[in-house]
């Protein structure tokens, strides 16, 4: 199954419509989470909103994900090692408050398992392409670094608060 998702915050009819047209050309069933858009897909099964638990189950089951450039989906695709095609919302078309999804795509392009399409032709080429399963990520040094920074700061503050408390006693 191929999972299409637009996230929970905003509609993204332009993308849903393109995917609906491409769905019959694909060799797998397509399931779309479409948000509160007006366009009703006819060539793929769809649901407006999917809760986080069911969504993660769909991520586990699918062969690849085709998505708006939302961080929630990107994190889930990385966690479950699924090839991910990103199609950014554009601020100019009122698909989001600004063009940060375009910036996300530019910043993440080339990372393992992440493929980016900025227009219909690129999306059409990518959904038809064979995308390999991304290699397992054994360590994420940048993630560990941020965790250490946060844990270190909290530890420092606890010691300060403990010292203050003992002074009060």
């Amino acid at each position: 199954m191929i999972l299409v998702t637009v996230g929970t915050q905003l509609p993204f009819d332009r993308f849903v419509k393109i995917m609906d047209h491409l769905a019959p050309t694909l060799d797998e069933e397509v399931f779309a989470q479409t948000g509160r858009g007006h366009y009703q897909p006819v060539h793929m099964r769809s649901q407006q909103v999917i809760g986080p638990i069911e969504f993660e189950r769909l991520i586990q089951q699918c062969s690849r994900i085709i998505s708006h450039a939302g961080i929630g989906t990107i994190v889930m695709a990385q966690k479950h090692r699924k090839p991910l095609i990103l199609f950014p919302r554009l601020g100019a078309l009122d698909e989001h408050r600004n063009d940060h999804q375009l910036a996300t795509v530019r910043a993440l392009r080339g990372r393992p398992g992440i493929h980016c399409a900025c227009n219909e032709a690129e999306l059409e080429a990518l959904v038809a392409a064979h995308l390999p399963t991304p290699e397992p990520v054994s360590d994420l040094p940048e993630r560990d670094r941020l965790r250490r920074a946060v844990a270190g700061f909290i530890g420092e503050q606890h010691r300060l608060f403990d010292a203050k408390d003992s002074r009060l006693v």
């Binding site: 994190v75 940060h100 940048e142 993630r143 941020l146 250490r148 920074a149 844990a151 503050q157």
Partner: protein, 130 residues
Amino acid sequence: MLLRPAFDEGCVVFATTNRELAVRDGVDGVHLLPDANRDEPMRALASMIASARLMRRVRPHVVVTTGALPGLFCLIFGRLLGARTIWIDSIAASDRPSLSGALARPFATRWYTQWEHLQSPGRDYEGALL
């Protein structure tokens, strides 16, 4: 949730806008806040009041948030009640700091961007979750 290993499980409480997220990730006793964004003033007000109440009840020593609006409210009220605060700007803010992040600046004891090219004095880069 990607930050969870940074917290001491004995003394952390989580607040979220979606209870099912907490269920999915096995977090008990989560605090719920109404979700809001800047396009919906009445919901934003409800979220602000709920955040203020939560901070007054929990009285955290440290507030850590990646935003957006409900997280910003918690950070501000937490700071006003004496907490130290960490703002982690969303990884989606890759071309410039987010608006909520900019508003959080004066109330954040530490302010982290997740993109190295955006670091500047007072906007530290110490890694990224993704």
